[in-house]
Structure formats: structure tokens, C-alpha cells
């Protein structure tokens, strides 16, 4: 896609793969693709479950304005810009819950614009 902005982040210490993942659009043996849509003041889906040790591409879009996507525990962040697809590639190696949130102030509900990635075996 010519309009796609690829913001690919390879993580050495953390990783993902889907066991049950809402919003999966495509999946191959090599990697899963999870679509995440942002709008004031939510991400959809909000909760994402991935499997440890598998590569996942998060495909981020926004329905309204610029938002941020930040997973501090994985040292991952990206801008989500209107009209573009931002891709973040993850390779989780650690089980657990990892919060993500919008880190570009977007209005009165900004503080509630967050979600959770759960990594399972």
C-alpha cells in the first residue's frame, strides 16, 4: 500500500503471538496481523491476547485525529495518523499483561484511552 506508513519495531526481549485475538484480519504461520482502530477515546479492540514466541503485526489506524500508541513495558511507541496505517511488529518473549495507551493528548477522555495486551504461553 502506498499510503501505508510502516513503523516497524522489532523487540529483542519481548514478544507476541495470538492464541485468541479479537480483530485478527490475517494470519499466516509466520505472523499474525491484528487490526487496532483508534478514536476518541478508545482503542478497538481494547483487550488483545497473544501467544509468547510468535510474531504479530499490529496494524494501527485512526478514525478521527492523530493518536499515540505506547506500550512502555515493551519500549514501543508510534503515532497513528489519519489516512495512514501504522504497523508495529512485536515478538513477545515474556508472559504477562502489558498496558497500552494513547500518549498524544486528545481531549477530555484522553486519560481513559487505553487497553491491554495479554501474552500467554
Amino acid at each position: 500500500m502506498t499510503r501505508r506508513m510502516a513503523a516497524t519495531v522489532y523487540l529483542l526481549a519481548s514478544t507476541f503471538s495470538a492464541s485468541w485475538t479479537p480483530g485478527i484480519a490475517e494470519a499466516t504461520q509466520a505472523q499474525q496481523v491484528v487490526k487496532i482502530s483508534a478514536r476518541r477515546y478508545e482503542f478497538q479492540p481494547t483487550n488483545i491476547t497473544l501467544r509468547k514466541g510468535s510474531t504479530t503485526v499490529l496494524r494501527l489506524t485512526t478514525e478521527d485525529r492523530v493518536h499515540g500508541f505506547n506500550i512502555p513495558a515493551m519500549n514501543v511507541r508510534a503515532d497513528i495518523v489519519p489516512g495512514k496505517v501504522t504497523e508495529v511488529t512485536l515478538l513477545p518473549q515474556k508472559q504477562g499483561d502489558f498496558e497500552f495507551f494513547c500518549d498524544i493528548f486528545c481531549g477530555s477522555g484522553h486519560e481513559d484511552m487505553r487497553g491491554k495486551i495479554t501474552v500467554v504461553e
Binding site: 499515540g68 495507551f101 498524544i104 493528548f105 484522553h110 486519560e111
Partner: protein, 303 residues
């Protein structure tokens, strides 16, 4: 932590829980070359996160009265402040520019009642992030600036007009040029809204390029940062630089990472205004020291 021990000991000694006194040294205690530069002791008050326009009875049923009470209390301080600083989030955010203007106008009318002449403002993300500080500047002036008072050099850093929560390269260059005019042992107070260090990035309690500002400040021996944003007291050291956050005058928030979500602490009818307050800071020039006394808001608005 030393500060916590001092607070407990102080409360034990005076037998009240209303006013909290905290002592903090900046840089090297004891003699400093800056003693010879003719500074004087003084008090300044820090108020923060007033969020004028906030609505939420479960969090603060006195949303229209808390700031007014705080203003009365500040005016009643026995130890009169030379100046007052507001460290951001003066107003609650809104998409409607006219509402934002109205809130800023109302806020100004209320704080005009402060009987201290020198009052300095800075924006929080609620004031400035949606329009890059444009409306804020119309009402309160520049978002980053410096001033001097009785031997202390104050630097206000804006880390909110950029909605990403960054200072930005242009302002960092300005900071560098400002600091180049200072001597290594000058007394420097930094005012800012967000923490300059990574207090708790999971709750966005950080400044993306805050470390760059801290790197610029590190060569200076006597630096203290007063900030807001996190709606509670927090005392932290990065190297020799002390960081002190202030309580909110609208919405208390939980300690960093103490709860799964960063949700406001509900109002307690048995402890009204709990977690809300302001501080009076005694700047002791010769000792490069700041003594902080915390004041809660109370129904009677008395000190």
C-alpha cells in the same frame, strides 16, 4: 525515605495532621559560593492542577468552591509569600474554544483575589495541548520563561503545548542558552507541569524528552524542580536534582502504579477535600534549601 521520616516525626511532634512540613536540600548542604551573591530568604506558594470547569460530584462535589477556598487560605497564610506559581492544568480541557476561553476568564477572576502581586502561570495539557497553547497565551502569556527573585533563578519549562508531552528541540535550545548565562552554583528552580523524569510512564507520568532537559541541568549544583500533573505529593531525586510534585485543587489521584488504572480517588464525606491542597515553600538562600509546608483545603477556608 528521609522526607517521609521527617514528615512522620513532625506530625508526631506537633500532634496534628492538617499541615505537613517537608524539608528538602538542593545540591550541597552547608556553605556554597552562592552565599556571597546577596540572595535573601523568601516564601513562595505552589498551586497546581486546579482544573477549573471539571464536573464530577463523586470526585469533588465542591468543584466550584475548592479553588476559591484555596485562594482564601493562601491569603490567610501567616508566612506571606513573595510570589505564587501555578504549575499547570489551570482549566479542564474542552473541545469548544469559547468554553475554554470562558474557563480561563473565570479562573483569572478567581485568582485575581490572591493578594500577592507576583503570580506566575504555566499550562498543563488540559490548557494547551489541543491548540498548542494558543488560547492559553492569549490569557496568560508565554508558556516558557525565566525570572529572578532574591537570588533564585526560576525557569518555567513547557512540556504540554506539544500534545506528545515533549519539550521540543527549539525550547531545549532556549533552555541551553538560558543556562549558559548561569554560574554552576546558582540557585535554580525549575517549574514544569509533567515530571521531567520517568515517574510512571505506564500512566503517562513522564516527559518524552525530559531527560534532555535534565542533562542540561545536571552541571548546575543547586537545582530543584517543582511540578504538577500527578495530583499528589511525590519527592524524588535524579542525581542531585530534587523533584517535588504538588497536590491538585480538584481531583486527587492514586500513587503511581498503586492501582490497575489511574482513576481519580472518590470524594470521602468523612474526609472532605482529602488529597487536595497547596504548599508554601520557604526558600533559604544561604543554605540552598527549600522547606515545604503542605496545607490541605478545608470547608472553612482557614489556615
Amino acid at each position: 525515605m528521609t522526607i517521609e521520616v521527617e514528615r512522620r516525626e513532625f506530625l508526631k511532634l506537633i500532634g496534628v495532621a492538617g499541615v505537613v512540613f517537608v524539608s528538602s536540600l538542593t545540591g550541597n548542604p552547608g556553605f556554597s559560593l552562592s552565599q556571597s551573591k546577596g540572595g535573601q530568604d523568601f516564601f513562595f506558594v505552589q498551586l497546581s492542577d486546579t482544573h477549573w470547569g471539571f464536573e464530577g460530584a463523586q470526585i469533588n462535589p465542591d468543584a466550584k468552591g475548592t479553588l476559591i477556598k484555596a485562594v482564601k487560605e493562601v491569603n490567610g497564610l501567616r508566612q506571606r509569600p513573595d510570589l505564587i506559581v501555578f504549575t499547570g492544568d489551570l482549566t479542564q480541557t474542552t473541545d469548544d474554544t469559547n468554553v475554554r476561553k470562558a474557563r480561563m476568564r473565570e479562573f483569572k477572576q478567581i485568582v485575581d483575589e490572591l493578594d500577592t502581586k507576583l503570580v506566575y502561570f504555566m499550562p498543563g495539557e488540559h490548557d494547551a495541548s489541543l491548540d498548542n497553547g494558543e488560547t492559553y497565551r492569549d490569557y496568560f502569556g508565554e508558556t516558557h520563561y525565566t525570572f529572578d527573585h532574591k537570588g533564585v533563578h526560576f525557569i518555567a519549562i513547557d512540556n504540554v503545548s506539544d500534545p506528545t508531552g515533549s519539550i521540543g528541540e527549539a525550547q531545549l535550545a532556549w533552555l541551553q542558552s538560558e543556562l549558559a548565562k548561569r554560574k554552576p552554583d546558582d540557585n535554580i528552580v525549575v517549574l514544569t507541569h509533567r515530571p521531567l523524569f520517568d515517574l510512571y510512564p505506564q500512566w503517562d507520568w513522564a516527559t518524552k524528552d525530559g531527560q534532555k532537559a535534565l542533562d542540561l541541568l545536571m552541571p548546575y549544583k543547586n537545582v530543584t524542580v517543582f511540578y504538577g500533573h500527578i495530583h499528589q505529593e511525590n519527592h524524588h531525586m535524579t542525581g542531585h536534582i530534587a523533584h517535588h510534585s504538588a497536590k491538585s485543587l480538584m481531583v486527587p489521584l492514586p500513587a503511581p502504579g498503586s492501582m490497575p488504572k489511574r482513576q481519580p480517588i472518590p470524594w470521602s464525606s468523612s474526609e472532605p477535600y482529602k488529597g487536595m491542597g497547596f504548599r508554601n515553600v520557604h526558600s533559604e538562600f544561604e543554605r540552598n534549601k527549600f522547606d515545604m509546608t503542605e496545607y490541605p483545603v478545608n470547608e472553612e477556608a482557614t489556615i
